[in-house]
């Protein structure tokens, strides 16, 4: 029976859809502002006339391609193409700067394929039991998860903790602007209609990451990226050897990505950040995270692609979308007349398993397709003259921001944030803590308010915040992440003193 599903995923139509989906997704994902969610929303009507399994394969392939495509702009332009690729900028751009952009793109492709495979295999074999993870996470768990994510600020801003924390706090304040997601209060808009929609994450990403790069490109005469010799091909062999050496990192990050993908309140950006944080925490002494460490790219890229398979687990088993693109898939299934839910794996087994095999095939196809498109993307960014690159990218930032929700306000906010980001960067404030605050602030706020409401109602506030096992585990990881660097630094100082 399993073989039958595999074969029906291998029909020419389904193979063609998988390939087309991966290519289209990669291209859409590589453009900042165009997200996987948007690509799926536009393509859903095309799937109405398809078989449900084929429709799912197309949507899944676009989704997985888009998450990988987000890495290009992150590596080559320091701008995450999708929010999932935020942590890819940390090491990807430094690598590109020093002339290793081709290597970084190839590494991202390998890592994405591994992550995608782990997520899809979890979906294939473990979906019903793993879906329970989605339900085990209550408001308080999301609260602590976001605090854990925020603890990354400490390790991102080594040597300048105060500035990092200030940036994070600023990002959290930005996240409260506009109509509050759950309380419906209108906050910090100062009576202006421009701010009522708040600071959108995608627009803020484009502004804070891309605009400073553009300003710097214009301000300095050097080439955008250093190029070693003539660009012929990506350094695939070298990338493969590095990836093979880091298999433990790849697997751990993929597992993290799968689990975070299952959580309906998190998503690819959180998965990438958590995996990056873990990779950094367990780094070997010679590794330089934040300054072009290949393991940093691999952690993020494998984790964010693992969220694709992971996110489908609650979507298909519980009818609860694991990530925003899953919400679109769920709607498409509903129109197809396919009922999701606990019975889907037994009642609509042929659709589900054909789709999962299709997703696996799409993920494998991403290897050749991704390397080819990656090579082209790298070549064009590296060889294009600055006088063409800057206006093109500048134009894309505006179109990308506007297209999020056809809002001119968003474009104004994006440009203002960008200039602001460039100015404060002169004073040592980085963009990443601000973005972390902006993304994790609402998750923390909602979790806190809901947890507090439930805890107060049941007269168990302390137990609510500190008494639940998953919360305790996340809290422990947070403390380790925060304290370990201090302990290590102290040890090193001591050793240095004794050495004298």
């Amino acid at each position: 029976m399993e073989l039958g599903h595999f074969l029906s995923a291998m029909t020419p139509v389904n193979l063609g859809l998988a390939l087309f989906g991966v290519i289209a997704g990669t291209i859409v994902g590589s453009i900042p502002g165009l997200t996987a969610t948007m690509a799926l929303a536009i393509l859903v009507p095309i799937t109405f006339s398809m078989e449900p399994a084929s429709a799912l394969i197309l949507l899944g392939a676009i989704y997985t391609g888009a998450i990988y495509g987000g890495a290009y702009a992150a590596i080559l332009l320091n701008t995450p193409g999708t929010p999932s690729a935020i942590a890819t900028t940390f090491d990807g751009y430094p690598m590109a700067k020093r002339g290793d952009g081709d290597l970084a793109v190839a590494l991202a492709c390998f890592a994405s394929v591994v992550g995608g495979m782990v997520g899809a295999i979890a979906l294939l074999f473990l979906a019903p039991p793993l879906s329970k993870v989605a339900l085990a996470f209550g408001p308080i768990e999301y609260f602590w998860l976001s605090i854990f994510g925020l603890s990354l600020i400490a390790s991102l801003s080594e040597g300048n903790l105060a500035k990092g924390l200030a940036g994070g706090a600023f990002g959290m304040i930005l996240s409260t602007v506009g109509v509050a997601e759950i309380s419906a209060d209108i906050r910090l808009t100062f009576g202006s209609q421009v701010l009522i929609g708040g600071f959108g994450v995608v627009g803020a990403l484009i502004g804070l990451y891309c605009i400073p790069v553009l300003i710097d490109l214009v301000a300095v005469p050097d080439r955008h990226l250093k190029v070693e010799e003539d660009v012929k091909t990506l350094r695939i062999g070298e990338a493969y050897r590095i990836a093979a050496r880091s298999k433990f990192n790849l697997i751990r990050s993929s597992v993290i990505g799968t689990i975070v993908g299952i959580l309906p309140g998190a998503g690819g950006s959180v998965a990438g950040l958590v995996a990056y944080s873990e990779a950094k925490r367990t780094a070997k002494p010679h590794q330089t995270f934040g300054a072009g460490e290949p393991d940093g790219i691999m952690a993020t890229e494998s984790a964010n692609n693992a969220t694709v398979g992971g996110g489908f687990i609650p979507t298909l088993v519980l009818g609860i979308p694991g990530t925003p693109p899953d919400a679109i898939v769920l709607g498409a299934l509903l129109i197809q007349g396919v009922r999701t839910g606990p019975a889907m794996f037994t009642q609509s087994g042929s659709i589900v398993y054909t789709f999962i095999y299709g997703l696996i095939i799409a993920t494998i196809l991403m290897l050749p397709a991704g390397l080819l498109i990656g090579r082209y993307a790298y070549k064009s960014i590296v060889t294009i003259p600055k006088a063409v690159l800057v206006p093109t990218v500048g134009f894309m930032t505006i179109i990308g921001t506007f297209s999020i929700r056809n809002s001119v306000s968003d474009v104004i906010i994006m440009i203002c944030l960008g200039v602001f980001g460039w100015v404060v960067a002169r004073f040592g404030f980085k963009a990443s803590p601000i973005v972390l605050g902006l993304i994790l602030g609402p998750i923390a706020e909602q979790g806190f308010v809901q947890g507090w409401t439930i805890g107060a109602a049941t007269n168990n506030l302390f137990g609510m915040f500190f008494g639940r096992p998953i919360s305790q585990a996340i809290l422990a990881f947070t403390l380790i992440t925060l304290i370990l660097p201090l302990v290590l630094a102290r040890k090193q100082r001591k050793a240095a003193l004794e050495g004298k």
Partner: protein
């Protein structure tokens, strides 16, 4: 003189009339259907259900796009700035478009929106997990009375349909429950299934989606929902509660009366299609047919009720 001007006026009127019938509004190319929320919610799903029927009946594509932000306010505030040529429409939701402008200046007013059709509502329902000790609504009310505040109920947002229903129900029963707002019905359902709360103020759509995993204790409809013949209405149980979240469609205010009428007729036609009706019912929705001519009375009645409820609850001044 007078006669001549009367004649003139008559001629002008006849001319205007002939133009009125001649100037049939029509569609020119694909239609942009803006949902002022993110994907996956009830507004999105019902629009997605309309999509293929629209294409079938009127030959044009209906493209669904999302403009989330400000709990819908970003979209509604932008609507009247769009072209009123009939190629762009936007979903509208009650109580949102009534409560939001009453709270603060959010860039639009209830009357300023050219809402021309209300095509369905998702009736309020109290939902519990399948293995909940609450077998009936009476069980829940009894527990809430014996342990004031201890019965936690998730719902979508504050000052929303769910929240207003909770306040109203508590007042009717004299029980005290704790409302825990979540970001959308999906998140509030997840909290219910994960037993983070004891019950949920949800909609009949939750029962349709979750099937065996949940039990609905009562629905806020006049008659039982065809999909759930065993679930009683609040009315049957002695609580006068009928309502939920209403969804309709609006055009930019600059759209002509002909365009508005054309759209009202088109949405009405989709709404009367047996295939569409069946899909909506299977999804747990309850159909509604408030066309452009009846909108005024409908909105006036709903506005009065929502504002009264919200005022009594202290949500607006």
């Amino acid at each position: 003189m007078l006669r001549r001007s009367i004649l003139k006026a008559g001629a002008a009127a006849a001319f205007a009339l002939s133009i009125g019938t001649a100037a049939q509004a029509e569609l020119n190319g694909p239609v942009n259907y803006i949902i002022p929320f993110g994907p996956g919610g009830e507004s999105d799903i019902s629009a997605r259900l309309q999509q293929p029927f629209f294409k079938d009946k009127f030959g044009q594509d209906m493209v669904v796009t999302y403009q989330p932000g400000g709990g819908g306010a970003v979209g509604w505030a932008s609507l009247n700035g769009l072209s009123g040529d009939g190629q762009t429409i936007m979903g509208v939701n009650l109580p949102h478009i009534i409560i939001k402008p009453a709270q603060k200046d959010v860039g639009f007013t209830t009357d300023g929106l050219n809402s021309f059709y209300m095509f369905h509502f998702t009736p309020d329902a109290i939902v519990v997990p399948a293995d909940s000790p609450y077998q009936t609504l009476a069980d829940l009310v009894e527990d809430a009375k014996a342990n004031p505040g201890q019965v936690t109920m998730s719902g979508s947002g504050k000052a929303s349909a769910n929240h207003l229903a909770q306040i109203k129900f508590d007042k009717m029963t004299g029980a005290l429950t704790t409302y825990v707002p979540f970001k959308g019905t999906g998140a509030s359902t997840t909290a219910l299934l994960g037993k983070q709360v004891k019950a949920q103020w949800g909609y009949t759509t939750v029962g349709a989606k979750q099937g065996e995993a949940v039990r609905m204790l009562a629905v806020a409809m006049e008659d039982r929902h065809p999909l759930f013949p065993d679930v009683p209405t609040f009315k049957e149980l002695g609580y006068d509660m009928v309502g939920g979240a209403y969804r309709g469609i609006a055009l930019p205010a600059s759209a002509s009366a002909e365009t508005t009428k054309m759209w009202s007729d088109m949405i009405g036609e989709i709404n009367s299609d047996p295939g569409f009706r069946q899909q909506m019912l299977d999804g747990g929705f309850a159909l509604l047919d408030i066309s452009v001519d009846e909108m005024g009375d409908f909105m006036a009645a709903r506005t009065e009720e929502y504002l009264n409820d919200a005022r009594e609850a202290g949500l607006i001044k």
